[in-house]
């Protein structure tokens, strides 16, 4: 392979410019494989159908069309942010690496010139992208009903997508980690989602709303959408920082675990 003379980095860890470009291109091709794999899977199609349920209910019943702003925000917060999007993260995230292992396709990837941390990084980005695509379709579909029949501002889509992005980033990273670290990841993931929905509410009564992950997501989301959600003693920036730390820590832990994992 031809080597260019430009070196980047310290002496002990130097990469040629050529190697960096190749590494990036490999990542892009890997990302494409992962996204196509998601699109081809029945799981993604099932999630889209599930995500459309609120839209179908509104179409059939006409619910909320008389008070579109409040109804849309309530459904977006309680159904999408605290239930459906975490569920997407749960189902796509837990399966991100474990599905590759079960189908043995991981052997094709790990035996090629890719660092294991790159595989995790691109897989996470693919999970995030696919979940965002599904979120765009289902949330956009839901909003379009209110835009068409109740003159709701279409600009809400941007804010909704930003809050969805925060939600999906956090949950996908956590569930990708669980999918690699635990044998019954789906079970533990379900417990985590149920914690947010049930037990979390109880703990919130005891320890305060700062213990709810979806509470922090909703809190950080107030920077993009006009609704009220507060956590006493926490600013929006603090919630955002916490969510960033949780996300990055989960991704780094997944990389370390995968780096150490024997694929036997």
């Amino acid at each position: 392979m031809e080597t260019e003379s430009t070196y980047i980095g310290t002496d002990s860890h130097s990469y040629t410019k050529n190697e960096l470009i190749n590494s990036f291109l490999r990542g892009i091709y890997l990302f494409r494989i992962f996204v196509t794999d998601f699109i081809q899977s029945r799981k993604s199609k099932g999630l889209i159908v599930l995500g459309f349920l609120p839209t179908i209910i509104v179409i059939l019943t006409g619910a909320g069309l008389d008070r579109p702003q409040i109804f849309y925000m309530d459904v977006f917060k309680t159904i999408y942010i605290t239930f459906l999007l975490p569920l997407f993260g749960l189902l796509l995230g837990t399966a991100a690496i474990s599905d590759e292992m079960e189908s043995h396709t991981i052997l094709q990837l790990v035996s090629r010139p890719l660092r294991r941390m790159e595989i995790i990084l691109w897989r996470y980005l693919a999970t995030l992208t696919t979940s965002m695509m599904i979120a765009f379709i289902v949330v956009g579909g839901f909003l379009s009903i209110f835009v068409t029949f109740a003159s709701l501002d279409v600009g809400l889509l941007f804010g909704s997508m930003m809050v969805s992005f925060i939600c999906i980033s956090v949950y996908s990273s956590i569930f990708t980690l669980l999918g690699l670290a635990l044998k019954k990841a789906l079970l533990w993931g379900t417990i985590l989602v149920l914690y947010e929905q049930g037990l979390g509410i109880l703990i919130v009564f005891v320890g305060g709303p700062a213990l709810s992950l979806s509470g922090h997501i909703l809190h950080a989301g107030t920077a993009f959408l006009n609704y009220f959600h507060a956590i006493p003693g926490w600013t929006v920036m603090m919630s955002t920082q916490l969510l960033t730390i949780v996300t990055l820590a989960s991704i780094i832990l997944t990389m370390v675990l995968f780096k150490l994992k024997d694929l036997s």
Binding site: I21, R26, Y29, S103, Q108, V110, L114, R115, D262, S264
Partner: protein, 314 residues
């Protein structure tokens, strides 16, 4: 010069010892057969070599480097695992292309190389068929094609002939020979059937219970395997049996033991243990013809590969 070098490599999975101080060398530009019964540790060894797993102790070197998570090592080999590891939703050509791009992201004549690889494994006419619609043998051939596109210096193939029909086997064996002879590609190929590799390889490593049992040329290994006591049973009428056995007893060094027993109806069975089965069969036919004694049934009692390897381990 060795391209693959395993030194005292051990690996355990809980209580199960997969490899126990295994030593192995694969010479550059040679075809090395890696033979052992199921569960002997072949795939575990191959996963160490391909950097999919790490040894508990000992050293694995490929191209003089540790292959675990190493880009420089992974760039230089092609690997066909024992598993059906292709994405089922892709078409054959696309499947090879997307995997090849992970090796050579900027190869300008990639399509041409893919066509050559497909042609070489006899899959050119199925290039637009979905992987999920292929037979097991076709998928195997596709995986072999996918391991070749980036022109690797080393090919590591874990049971690549499994699931192939005789024609497919011949195609792949000819291809491997050609790659080795024309392009000097080093090949490590595993199988649990020794005979399958005899015509193909320069050297054979026998493995059993995670240990190297023997290493050498196919002729040397064949000699070693044939030193294993073979059990042969033949059936004849009592008068004929008497003539045959008395002649057999006079043969020097061919028969280790001979045991007569009542057979079905009016026949008698003779169970022979020999270290030279081919010579024994020649002599049996000669004696039978010379004495005009008929043999109604001959059977080489097949021993399991496990028993053979147990014998070799001692």
């Amino acid at each position: 010069m060795s391209i693959i070098h395993l030194n005292e490599v051990s690996k355990r999975y809980g209580e199960v010892v997969a490899l126990s101080r295994l030593n192995m060398h694969v010479r550059e530009a040679a075809i090395t057969g890696f033979v052992g019964p199921n569960g002997a540790g072949k795939s575990t060894t191959i996963r160490m070599i391909t950097g999919l797993a790490r040894p508990d102790s000992g050293e694995v070197r490929v191209f003089d480097a540790n292959p675990y998570d190493s880009i420089t090592v992974h760039e230089r080999f092609g690997f066909v695992s024992e598993h059906d590891d292709l994405y089922p939703w892709a078409k054959v050509r696309d499947s090879i292309k997307m995997l090849a791009r992970l090796n050579v992201p900027r190869l300008s004549n990639l399509d041409e190389k893919i066509s050559e690889s497909l042609q070489a494994v006899g899959m050119a006419k199925y290039a637009d068929r979905k992987v999920s619609a292929l037979s097991k043998g076709m998928r195997q051939r596709t995986r072999i094609a996918a391991s070749l596109v980036h022109s690797p210096r080393l090919l590591i193939l874990d049971e690549p002939l499994k699931g192939l029909d005789p024609l497919g086997r011949r195609t792949i064996m000819n291809l491997l020979l050609k790659l080795n002879q024309d392009d000097k590609v080093t090949i490590l190929i595993s199988s649990h059937v020794l005979e399958e590799l005899e015509q193909l390889v320069d050297r054979i490593t026998l493995i059993h219970r995670g240990q190297t049992v023997a290493e050498g040329s196919p002729e040397g290994i064949r000699k070693l395997v044939f030193s294993y006591p073979h059990e042969i049973l033949f059936t004849s009428r009592p008068n004929d049996m008497k003539k045959i056995t008395s002649s057999l007893m006079q043969l020097d060094g061919i028969i280790r033991s001979l045991e007569l027993s009542e057979g079905k109806q009016e026949f008698m069975d003779c169970r022979v243990i020999t270290l030279q089965p081919e010579l024994f069969f020649d002599e049996l036919v000669r004696i039978s013809v010379e004495n005009k004694a008929s043999i109604v049934h001959v059977d080489a009692i097949s021993e399991s590969v496990e028993k053979l390897f147990d014998y070799l381990v001692g």
